[in-house]
Amino acid sequence: MIENLDQIFVLLQHWLVSFLPASWQPAAGVLLSVAAIVCLFPALFALTTVFERKGLARIQNRLGPNRVGPFGFFQPIADGIKSLTKEDIVPSSADAAVHFLAPVLLVVTVFMGFAVLPMGRNMVLVDLDAGLLFYFAMGASTELAVFMAGWSSRNKYSLLGAMRAVAQMISYEVPLLMSSVAVVMITGSLSLTKIVEAQNHYTWGFPHWYIFTPWGFAGFLMYAIATTAETNRSPFDLPEGESELVAGYHTEYSGFKFALFFLGEYVAMFSISGLGTTLFLGGWSAPFSFLTWVPSWIWFFSKLMLSIFVFIWMRGTLPRLRQDQLMNFAWKFVLPMCLVNLLVTGLWRFMGDGWLRWALCSAILMITYAGMGLAEMRRQRLGPRSYRYAE
């Protein structure tokens, strides 16, 4: 019974597809899964917009939207109706073809990333051997869509926003990939299903998730920072900062195209959180061995929503980083830490099991972190604030 609940979506898919002739069945099965993903994640996106607005509001000691539906949970429906019925304004000097294709390309590449995420036991859309590489290839194409959006609007501010966004995304691709490489080094495979299965073991009830190792913890932190920057999320949201560049690269978009950009950003957040969950938090495996009776997809989606809540929490806490601070941080701090993390991962892999490798790896990471952090702070002459008043 528990097995059935765990595999309920797989069984449902098999049952629905059994009505078709045998030669059509694989394609139909895949199409069904694709349809499920395309319906589920926008619904999750709608829910997340409400959670975000209410979460940020509660952090700021105010109520969020609470008029539409019970506790405001039908607000996305109102937002959706607004986006759909707004006039679609395309500037007359804008490049119409590219202007139209940019949000399309963004949404397509973002949804492609879900094809390799294992959302439960046996619940991967396509089990690729180079799954991680496929995911990052799709992420790289997102930058092109952002650039196309900014350039095609023929608006200096949009172009500036797009350049900044692309520079930021490229800079943080490197830490993103390098923190994932550490996971690949230990697992020995680029396939995401194998990575999850490698983490699905328990010692004394505790799971073998990679976040519970020194290199995994450091890798996860850097992955989280890189993720926040990749999806243009606060505190790295200068490209779309509402008070800075109007709306950055999507200034000239209105109505449904703007909703598509918004959708693209949030769904990218989901997919990259899903990847982070798979790489570091054990994917669909339960946190304790006595909890394995809970269906695997529930664990995956709970970890995903937890990541989203942490994103919302960070947005409510931290002020925005300036462009040069952001780039400095990427190249001068996160990248060296990633390289040290790779070294530490190598040490971990080739040292024997025992307390020595824990101590050595943690020591190397903490000393590097403290050293580089203090050096950076001293360079920027950070200290307690002093105020000068007009006399």
């Binding site: 490049d95 180079a130 590489l133 290839a137 650039f147 350039w151 490229i170 020995g188």
Partner: protein, 171 residues
Amino acid sequence: MSIVFYLLAALTVAGGLAAVLLKNTVHCALALTVAFAGLALLFLNLDAQFAGFAQILVYIGAVAILVVFAILLTRGSETPKDGVFSRSWLAGLAIAAAVFAVLGWALLQSARVLPHETAVPTVTVQQIGVALVGRYVLPLEIVGMLLTAALIGAVIVAMHEKVEHEKEGSK
């Protein structure tokens, strides 16, 4: 030669043609990106997973952006007044035909020389990795040094301008 191959080949060739025939330079760059995508799909069609995804990651994710930035930061983004075709198009056509002939002859020759493979060889990423740090480690390191030199050169070019600006400011 399946229908998929013909479609992908048509996509790649269309992208390449558009990249040379369009007037707006940024449109040309985007059409080139379509050609890259077609090439990546051709790799995937041949079951070369690593090559296909690396093509997308590197070419579309980085090289296309680089090309577009280069166009924008120079004056190439303005539509050329004199039209896109050069005046000595006959010589260009002759050279292109010669190159195509040589490449075609080499490909056809190799198809005759190589033995017929009955099974598609599966190259896993691990084999590629082992080959890279085993047999091909020297080219790997040379490419790495080349990239480092390019990075340092870029930094020096940018820094030079800053130093010159500062010198002029202090005068």
